[in-house]
Symmetry: none
């Protein structure tokens, strides 16, 4: 199963609406099951440094088929995956805001959101998933 551009746009829109509601300009990215970018938006005044993070949160969520939040828990110092953030040529993000997109339980892509505090990023990403 594939993720279409039309579907990706819906996900981005759903996230954007939520970002506007909470008043935090966000970078919003959607990648397909190959981890490759399908759609991206930087809202006005959103952080520049979060362009890369949003795209890579989405990549990370596909790459391990889990949320970046869950991956992060196991990647802290002393935990089993500590150091993983230095692999994959700097493309992994180990804090919340990246969530897999699934069709009938099957992984088809992911959304990545960055621009606010981590709980805000997660909230906006979840709104994107809900619009899917």
């Amino acid at each position: 199963m594939e993720l279409t551009l039309a579907e990706a746009k819906k996900v981005v829109e759903g996230a954007e609406v939520k970002a506007e509601q909470i008043g935090v300009p966000m970078n919003i990215a959607v990648v397909d099951v190959g981890g490759n970018l399908v759609a991206f938006e930087r809202m006005d005044k959103a952080w520049l440094g979060s362009i890369n993070i949003a795209i890579n949160k989405a990549f990370t969520a596909v790459a391990f088929n889990m949320t970046t939040e869950d991956l992060g828990k196991e990647s802290q110092p002393g935990k089993s995956l500590f150091g993983i953030h230095a692999t994959n040529m700097g493309r992994l993000v180990i804090f919340g805001g990246g969530i897999p997109l699934r069709k009938g339980g099957e992984l088809v892509g992911a959304i990545g959101v960055s621009g606010g505090a981590v709980p805000q990023d997660i909230e906006v990403a979840e709104a994107g998933v809900k619009a899917f």
Copy 2:
């Protein structure tokens, strides 16, 4: 002067409509005057390798305030800028498909399109500029 997300979306849409008309799925990117990504779309079945190229065509057009086509003419073997494509850490593209976006003559960003033959990329990028 700044480029807003609303403006960037119009540019992407204008390009997408043209790409559909000519039947070539494209990667379409818009960057701001700092060369940083504002909006991106990969149409269904568009080449994966062109994601990077579309984004970097837009970067290049801002970086030198000219089309990538014009930059390319002066970057051929024997020409004055030969070798420039190896600078800027691989972010320069020296064939057509990147075009500056201007407001009242002032540079505010650029569009980059990649996915077809170069003349098709240019045609689609020009449609994006026209929608601006």
Copy 3:
């Protein structure tokens, strides 16, 4: 609003004067709102390894519109942004010495200073901001 070279030079000069006062040779960088370098100075005998750090502290302060010191607090092990230093292709610095430059409250660029102990870097960067 833009940051001019004349303004950037004033910022660098203000920082340099302070660095001389405290007797620590510094690398001093100023970037614009797009995160791109505007002015840079390495004082005699300043550390080579701090060239990159000064430039990237300035980039980081623009990228997240906050001081690198503040970003660093949230990026420690166990904190919400742990791992962020591995994003943005190695361009983020998460210790003090990068400070945003604002005009009328609006972000227009940043200064980054590196060459001494972190509190010294911060002191010199603040002197640069004051000269703005």
Copy 4:
């Protein structure tokens, strides 16, 4: 022998004055004998893509103790050094605008200028050398 920051600033100033005379905003970089950045200026409205090129022209001129123009002649397709621009992790520039700085015949650093047509870059770089 070393290149001081005071000397580097004179070189940059000399180049800047010439750039203003010919009305082309330039990126101007000076590196020391180790190829490491000492001073940099981007004049208002100078090309973003030329930040990297100016710095690396200066690096290249030190790296081979010759002008980038001379290096370029031997680096064209079919010539003895063809392909050299892909070495040194993208830090070599093989067109004019980088010139060694010498004291009593000894290499102490280089200037790199980028922002106009190549002959303009060379003219501005030569003005910087003359101010040395």
